[in-house]
């Protein structure tokens, strides 16, 4: 017997190191992208999927260098178009696990069209959207998520165009899995990445990510250790929307279907726990998730976690079912018959 035949049938489990490529990351020192890369590499082995079955696809931008650092199949495409190429990969090869690394400029400005259509189709892509509210690679112009009035290289008089919320957009685009995390909350991010990896259909995780060079402290309002407990609302399925160091603040939904921040407890001016909204990520109606996506500090705490997680058939499953049906009803295509289809006539040798 040869040694190969004696080899164990089950390959040894993969570890984080198996997903680290030989390329040295080239992000600026202190960039939030390092934290995201580390968490992704940590989470990958947990899916139990062979390394060669992963494809990381990206567009253009700082975050889009991501595939070079993953020791999987990787495809660094062109600006904004990662979802299109990832769609071709996933649709033609549903056996592959396709992740997309993108940024707020790549996914929401130049590639906005592709992002919304991937979401509406519910094709199996796992999208990590690094949102630093700035264009980093081109050295500091505003993105669709930059704040109104922001002064940048291209907006020295202040940004005049109104930003949109990533999650509002993707909920509007019929996304089935919508989540948010931040580059400073490593355990939370890992948890979210795991959920993304497990979802069937398009999953989108927005990660707030600090750009120390061109937009430093963009998220300081929720990362500062002394205040963050009062400013982050961790969403947990089946649990009330509570926040604050002592979980003494909560979200009540008013009659006009608006969130309202209240003090929770017994006594004057306080609201009993029973009146606090209970988080349900599986609500079919997207209005609730949309409401969460509109919550911004300082009016509200910023929700982190899974806003929406609903089940819908994936695009690739529907497409392949159609193919199988056509094979079942018409048989496997015979090209020779195809060419002879329609009206034909024979010219005899004597004419």
């Amino acid at each position: 017997m040869s040694t190969t035949e004696n080899a164990p049938l089950v390959k040894p489990a993969l570890s984080r190191k198996d997903f680290v490529s030989n390329q040295e990351p080239r992000w600026c020192p202190g960039c939030g992208d390092y934290a995201i890369l580390a968490q992704v590499q940590k989470v990958m082995p947990e899916f139990g999927i062979p390394r060669e079955k992963f494809v990381f696809v990206s567009g253009i931008g700082c975050s889009s260098r991501f595939p070079y650092y993953m020791n999987t199949y990787g495809f660094h495409t062109i600006h904004g178009r990662a979802p299109t190429i990832a769609t071709g990969i996933r649709l033609s090869r549903p056996d592959l696990t396709v992740w997309v690394a993108t940024g707020d400029g790549d996914a929401l400005a130049i590639g906005g069209n592709h992002l919304i259509h991937a979401l509406r189709r519910n094709i199996g892509l796992k999208i990590i959207l690094f949102n630093n509210r700035i264009y980093g690679l081109t050295k500091g112009q505003p993105s669709p998520t930059s704040e109104l009035g922001k002064k940048t290289k291209s907006t020295p008089s202040g940004l005049a165009d109104h930003p949109f919320s990533t999650l509002s957009v993707v909920i509007g685009a019929e996304g089935t899995f919508i989540a948010r995390s931040i580059d400073t909350e490593l355990a939370h991010m890992q948890q979210m990445l795991k959920r993304v990896g497990e979802h069937q259909g398009t999953a989108l995780l927005e990660v707030y990510q600090n750009c120390p060079v061109f937009n430093d402290d963009a998220f300081i309002h929720i990362t500062d250790k002394s205040t963050k407990a009062d400013r982050i609302l961790y969403l947990e399925h089946g649990k009330p929307l509570l926040f604050g160091k002592n979980k003494d603040k909560g979200i009540r939904i008013t009659k006009s279907f608006s969130p309202e921040v209240v003090e929770v407890g017994e006594g004057e001016g306080k609201v009993p726990l029973s009146e606090i909204a209970v988080h349900d990520e599986t609500v079919e109606n997207p209005a609730y998730a949309f409401m969460l996506s509109r919550m911004e500090w300082p009016e509200y705490p910023v929700p982190l976690g899974v806003l929406r997680n609903v089940t819908r058939p994936t695009y690739e499953a529907l497409v392949h079912a159609q193919k199988e049906k056509m094979v079942a009803t018409r048989g496997k295509g015979d090209i020779s018959k195809l060419l002879r289809s329609g009206e034909t006539w024979v010219i005899e040798s004597e004419n």
Binding site: E52, P67, Y73, G88, H114, L338
Partner: protein, 631 residues
């Protein structure tokens, strides 16, 4: 209509009573059916085409439909036409000018009359010549009554009324009954050219089988039209086009878009690859997407994307994953796809890009034909970005051009352009169906061996890198649009490496010249004039050159299938002629390439009217440049 022989009276055996009309034998006929876009002229044309093919005539057709889906009835913008040229000799084009014009309303008459030959047969539905319709067509007076049609053999028939009479007692409403006019006209043409009617009656049954009352009405209208010709002895004669000498075999009619779609399916099978088509609707390419969407059981996946960019992006993703990635569009779509095509050049992945050219720039003339995207295919991307470019010559040639393009795309790991155009896409011709088992296979091999794997290691002859399917263990690697090291594929900004990679990509595409084969030439390799063409002008050029050769002009032609790289035999061939003429449906593109590549004084002949060249136009241009009897 050229009269070939003397009149043969009563020669046919299937002529019915009351009295067999004399029959004139003609070599070829061009008929144009025209009417309002709601009049069903395309159906009339295709039905007549089939009957002509079954009568063993050689033929070519060209539909001409309006850009508006439903322009207001009776307007000039709503006129739709269908032209067929059928003959007993080889037919290369749908014909310069109709010999017979069937006009169903005043607008159709106005739009099409200028094309009818002097003395041609003009059949007009007088029932549609109402005050309102005359006004819509912009006629100040009724041309049927003011003597302006004197130079034609005018046949005035109130088809609307006769159809009404034929359908008396039918359960159809007046509106639906009016829609049977086209079958009445078809019946009349069947009588004029003594077409076999049984098959047509069956075809109407099959087509309208779900609405028996409509099938019945159309059959009654068709028979009424036929009987009208027979009973009124309309011209005192019928016409006969003898069977053409056609190579034996099994034939079908095929349009360029249909041949393209079948070529894509066939190429996938010959390459033993699944096919992935990503596209976006655009005239005149959409039919390729439509047709492929019915071929899913051939291992085809079709994806109608959110835009042109996503169409090509998804095809690139599929090619990367080990499918044959294909996209098809027209010029505006190519403009949008070019950045992604550049990515595919950089990645060195096979990809088939089809451009069904139409009139440009911008939205241009969406339903009209043009050849103005050659430069776009060759030079329309940023950076040094060469791709092989082929052009199809006839509707059926689209099939073989696609096969060739795919074979090269895989062998050389490169995107390849196939240029067709609106004229080929919608035009049709009889096609001798190839025996699939005789087509050479080109099975794809993917690299699976991790030993010594370098992403950009190349085959020494083709310079192609290996194709690796994701999912292959041990070959995980990263690629992208940034310049890469010539072996490892890692990002490289090294100046010498970039220089080398640009040169290598160019050398790889230049090397495709070894696939070019023999020149497609017509005539001796020397003479006064060489006509050089590419794409859909093949039919008109060939017919014109053959005609002029017979008349004693020293003219030959060469038709280029390969636009990049050029056929290496072309340069020496050009030297055999005193003058070179390059007819193109653009403002002069190939002509500039020939001048630049070969330092020859090639001259352009340019027609930019959204219409193909007429044979007569080419004959005249040839006569001017290569007079008969010159040394």
């Amino acid at each position: 209509m050229s009269v070939e022989e003397q009149t043969e009276s009563g020669a046919a055996t299937d002529v019915r009573p009351p009295s067999p009309p004399p029959m004139t034998v003609v070599e070829s006929v061009v008929i144009r059916f025209c009417g309002d876009s709601g009049d069903g002229m395309q159906l009339t044309g295709t039905e007549f085409t089939r009957a002509s093919a079954l009568a063993l005539n050689d033929l070519a057709t060209l539909p001409d439909y309006p850009a508006e889906i439903r322009a207001p009835a009776g307007t000039l913008a709503g006129v739709s036409g269908y032209q067929i040229n059928f003959g007993s000799q080889e037919v290369y084009t749908p014909g310069d000018q109709p010999d017979v014009l069937v006009a169903m309303n005043p607008a159709a008459l106005k739009m099409n009359l200028p094309d009818l030959i002097s003395g041609g047969i003009l059949i007009v539905n007088t029932g549609a010549f109402t005050v309102k319709n005359l006004e819509l067509a912009g006629y100040p007076s009724n041309p049927l009554e003011d003597g302006s049609l004197e130079k034609y053999r005018l046949v005035k028939i109130d088809i609307s009324k006769l159809v009404g009479l034929a359908l008396e007692g039918s359960s159809l409403g007046t509106k639906d009954a009016g829609r049977c006019k086209n079958f009445w006209a078809l019946g009349l043409m069947f009588w004029m050219y003594q077409r076999e009617t049984e098959r047509e009656l069956r075809s109407i049954q099959e087509k309208f089988g779900k609405k028996p009352e409509l099938a019945d009405a159309n059959i009654r209208a068709f028979k009424a039209g036929y009987s009208y010709g027979e009973n009124t002895e309309l011209f005192g004669q019928t016409f006969h086009v003898r069977p053409a000498k056609i190579e034996p075999g099994l034939y079908r009619n095929v349009t360029g878009n249909s041949a393209t779609a079948m070529g894509i399916v066939c190429a996938g099978q010959l390459a033993e690859l699944p096919v992935f088509f990503g596209g976006y609707p655009i005239t005149p390419a959409s039919d390729i997407l439509h047709e492929l969407s019915t071929y899913l059981h051939y291992g085809v996946t079709t994806f109608q994307a959110e835009d042109e960019i996503a169409g090509v992006g998804s095809a690139i993703g599929a090619s990367y994953s080990g499918s044959l990635g294909v996209t098809a569009t027209s010029g505006p779509g190519i403009s949008l796809k070019q950045e992604a095509i550049g990515l595919a050049v950089m990645l060195e992945l096979p990809l088939l890009i089809i451009n069904v050219q139409r009139g440009g720039p911008s939205t241009g003339l969406p339903t009209k034909t043009e050849q103005a995207d050659l430069f776009q295919a060759l030079y329309g991307r940023h950076g040094e970005c060469p791709v092989p470019v082929l052009a199809a010559m006839t509707p059926s040639d689209c099939f073989f051009t696609v096969l060739e393009a795919v074979r090269v795309a895989i062998k050389y790991m490169t995107p390849v352009f196939v240029l067709t155009d609106g004229y080929l896409a919608n035009g049709s011709e009889p096609w001798k169906v190839p025996d699939v088992s005789s087509l050479p296979k080109f099975p794809t091999s993917f690299r699976t061996d991790p030993a010594g794997f370098q992403v950009y290691d190349r085959d020494p002859e083709s310079l192609a890198r290996a194709w690796v399917r994701p999912g292959t263990a041990g070959l995980e690697h990263r690629i992208g649009g940034i310049e890469k090291h010539n072996l490892t594929g890692n990002i490289s900004y090294d100046p010498d490496n970039h220089h080398q990679m640009v040169k290598t990509r160019a050398a790889k595409v230049a090397g495709v010249a070894r696939e070019a084969g023999e020149l497609i030439a017509c005539g001796p390799p020397e003479g006064d004039l060489l006509v050089v063409g590419w794409g859909s002008t093949y039919g008109a050029i060939t017919q014109a050159v053959q005609t002029m050769q017979r008349e004693g002009h020293k003219v030959s032609s060469v038709h280029l299938r390969w636009l990049n790289p050029l056929n290496p035999r072309l340069g020496p061939y050009l030297k055999g002629f005193r003058r070179i003429l390059v007819p193109e449906m653009n403002n002069g593109q190939l002509v500039r390439i020939l001048r630049a590549e070969f330092l020859v004084d090639a001259e352009g002949l340019n027609k930019i009217q959204g219409k193909p060249f007429k044979v007569s136009e080419l004959c005249q241009a040839i006569a001017e440049r290569a007079p008969r009897g010159s040394k």
